[in-house]
Symmetry: C2
Subunit: 203 residues, 2 copies
């Protein structure tokens, strides 16, 4: 059985699962979401289609696992970076900086994860992973909310401020989708500046 619940996962199981997840990432990056079929993923993983369905219940479940794998890693990095500071300005700088650094250092995972989140749809066409409402932006909301309350950031609808920061961060991933080998040095320097320019309270 594919573990899923109950006993501890076997050695081969954890290995195969990681191998298949990696294959899914490279497949999505090479062929794009629409052409990332089970057969292609299996081919890149060096296993049969049925092996994938055996470990993950379905293609949907595999992709969901990939998405979680990618974005919880990103979340963890940002959480850790932010936790090292207390005042909102420093926290925002840590948030943005750690985000950019992680994206820069994990390009394949990030681009594939975004591709899946954006493209994957449920059986009736509704986006499946693209929730993006509360949970995901909780940390950012808290930082910006605190900063506004303390007068560090200028007064702005919270949702708008969150969207602006995320839009500016998305500049990097957009760049990567255009050219996966792009040099992000300039962006990593300037984006934080622009974020603070956009949000800083007038003196």
């Amino acid at each position: 059985m594919s573990s899923s619940s109950g006993a501890a996962p076997t050695f081969t199981e954890t290995a195969r699962r990681a191998q298949i997840v990696q294959a899914a990432i490279t497949t999505v990056n090479e062929l794009g979401y629409p052409r990332a079929s089970l057969a292609e993923i299996a081919r890149r993983a060096g296993v049969a289609k049925s092996a994938i369905v055996y470990y993950f219940a379905s293609k949907d479940m595999l992709l969901l696992h990939v998405v979680e794998h990618v974005f919880t890693a990103l979340d963890d990095v940002r959480d850790k970076a932010v936790a090292a500071h207390t005042d909102p300005a420093a926290q925002l700088r840590a948030y943005v900086g750690s985000h950019l650094a992680h994206v820069d250092g994990h390009r394949p995972e990030i681009t594939a994860g975004i591709e899946i989140v954006v493209s994957h749809r449920g059986p009736d066409g509704i986006p499946l992973y693209l929730t993006a409402t509360d949970e995901d932006t909780a940390l950012l909301r808290r930082i910006l909310g605190d900063g506004m309350a303390q007068g560090v950031f200028r007064q702005l609808p919270l949702r708008l401020a969150v969207d602006v920061v995320e839009a500016l961060l998305d500049t990097v991933t957009t760049q990567l989708q255009r050219d996966p080998t792009a040099d992000l040095g300039t962006l990593r320097e300037e984006i934080p500046t622009i974020v603070f320019r956009a949000l800083a309270a007038p003196e």
Copy 2:
């Protein structure tokens, strides 16, 4: 024959083509790109699949036509608005304002157009319409370049400045993808401010 070249298009041809393009837009909005099949588009247009292939050579050609239809309209609006001003700051304000107004007033076309551009792939997985290099951003590049040369905007790599402006504008479309009926009032007020905050030269 489906016109394509030579003689002037028939009355029914122009009507059918517009009807089918509209059906494609609503289909993409209702079902999302992956499920927007020829059959579904035909169903919404009230014609047979073969009628679509008759007027447009293929599904790809139909979608390409939709994309051009949507984005040349947006381009025209921005061109016209910018042409009414001469100094870069006013031109940028006109560019951003007209963009936001047009998007606000043509939500279905815009969301469908973006969905297609983002999701559509060629036979080997390479994005087909997602060029986004020179042509599309020519006007914005010129405005920002002039503004930097005149010291109105701060010195920044041109590409980065362009990406920032577009990212901030994309905030609106992202909002619309989450909720097609969202109120964009606040965004339309604040985005221009934030754009200028990000780009304005220090006094």
